[in-house]
Amino acid sequence: MSGVLVVMEQRLDQGKATWHRMSWEALSAGQQLAAQIGQTVSAAVVGQPGELAAKKLDRVYAVEHALLTTYTADGYTAALEELIRKLSPSIVVFPHTYQVRDFAPKLATRFSQVLISDTIGFRVESGTAIFVRQLFQGKLNADVKPGGDGPHFVSIQAGAFRADQVEAGECPVEQFAPQLAADQIRAKPLDPFRESARAVDLTSADIIVSVGRGIKEKDNIPIVEELAKALGAELAASRPICDNGWLPMERQVGSSGQTVSPKMYLAVGISGAIQHLVGMKGAKTIVAINKDANAPIFEVADYGIVGDLFELVPALTEAVKKAKS
């Protein structure tokens, strides 16, 4: 059992193969991991290999089958199980996407393993990789050691490795046609859709003021709205606020909402769960107001104020208005 296998994610967008950007971050992680444990690295994709052939890899496996055109957990699990049994890698690396969350735990179970999910890094101790992942919504980190006979399964958190650090090279492409039968696939997926056209484009905003759970109730939203107005900012929110219907879904920032990178992102009463952080940590400057000094949001913040938002936000609105007048 040897070698690192990175499973990339691709979808068809109007007939054109489109990479999930996190695939390249996972590939970068896989290359670094392989170098440190002294093993080879290969990549696999259900779909078209494309530019993978121009990366520093041992081999690329292009998995193709008519039953894999549309994603199903049953189809992907069976196909990748067959490939992994054939290649017998020591570690299989995935990007931690929604799709991977849907099938990779099932795949790992087939090998009596768990998916060490959403990892943010690794270190190597006497030839063995130990993976770092977050616990308690990012409040603590844990070093997790894979055990049992491999292969070991790991997924990589968005933004934990850099796609632009993928090493270029040249490698052979091998087609892999798994044995699949239509009756293995129990789910019937219909076409993906969007609820409505987005009226609010947060991605083009220079300044965003975003509100989270700390606001406590809907009636308190206007105090944050006032601050956004004073700053000339777009108002955004973390998921629970939109789930409660306090602000429309189209103002949600995070893995299930929009990904933004404004000049300034001011987070009010947002603890900073990873699902939110992936949507905003690209902001040039991050300011956080939170009552909990240990909130994970302060790990990414450039400026922080620990305190009661119901006192701080109105005071800040006044100070901004004064500075602008």
């Binding site: 959403d118 700053l231 922080g304 500075a323």
Partner: protein, 256 residues
């Protein structure tokens, strides 16, 4: 429809967490606990499905004695009965170990549908439901925002990334992992709380279930994360802090 809901008890959201003496887990004795939030939404969805289609809702929960609080809450909200898998060492188990216990207990219930939250707020592996489905040989769907009964089984609305969704049809029995916000949570009524006391709670151990507990992955060390940025913390009362921050926004960040 017979619906099994797998729920977990986790430390309360506002907990101040401290690493324990072993360095491999947190000090639990001074913490308060609550129902894992996505699991509360899974329970609510099960209750709604029962109200629409009839049947039974069974709450399934693994953990030490303290989880009986979470079980009582589920019964008070309307679950018909509960199964408590008594286990003190769950923190040392990986998802596969826990899912084996849950799946074994679920198997003998022969449910039509198993619901659970998409992830736990403590370990956050986000895979217990999927692993249970695989162990039971059931199909599954994850991150579900709507469930509808159809002739051939169920139609569910899966959340994809970037605001996309997808409907998927599944035959029953099946496992679904439920996304927070799928519905609006109910409160337990006084009547419900009273009734809960008379409802059946079946207690089982790993030995009763005939499950050999073993883990593939293990937590070696738990620690506070290192800050990736140097955060300038701004002190003072509200007015002072606001004035200082505005200075920074004007002259350092230059957005005012």
């Amino acid at each position: 429809m017979k619906i099994l809901v797998s729920i977990k008890q986790v430390p309360s959201r506002d907990s101040q967490l401290r690493v324990d003496a072993s360095g491999r887990w947190i000090q639990e004795n001074d913490l308060s606990f609550e129902t894992n939030e996505p699991d509360a939404f899974a329970l609510e969805e099960a209750l709604r499905l029962k109200e629409q289609h009839g049947g039974e809702v069974v709450a399934l929960c693994a953990g030490p004695a303290r989880v009986s609080q979470t079980i009582r809450e589920a019964l008070a909200k309307g679950a018909d009965r509960a199964i408590h898998i008594e286990a003190d060492n769950l923190a040392s188990l990986d998802t596969l170990g826990v899912a084996k216990l849950l799946a074994k207990a679920a198997e003998s219930e022969k449910p039509d549908l198993i619901l659970t939250g998409l992830q736990s707020d403590d370990l956050g592996y986000g895979q217990t439901g999927v692993v249970m489905a695989e162990l039971l040989g059931f199909p599954h769907a994850t991150i579900i925002m709507a469930v509808e009964k159809i002739d051939t089984g169920i139609r569910v609305k899966r959340e994809l990334e970037d605001g996309w969704f997808q409907n998927v049809e599944l035959p029953l029995p099946a496992v679904l992992t439920i996304q927070s916000g799928i519905n609006k949570l109910r409160y337990a009524t006084l009547m419900g709380i009273k009734k809960a006391k008379t409802k059946e709670v079946k207690r089982l151990t790993a030995a009763d279930l005939g499950v050999q507990i073993a883990s593939a992955a293990s937590i070696e060390r738990v620690y506070l994360p290192q800050r990736s940025k140097q955060t300038q913390m701004i002190e003072g009362n509200a007015k002072e802090a606001a004035a200082k921050l505005v200075e920074k926004l004007r002259f350092e960040v230059r957005v005012i």
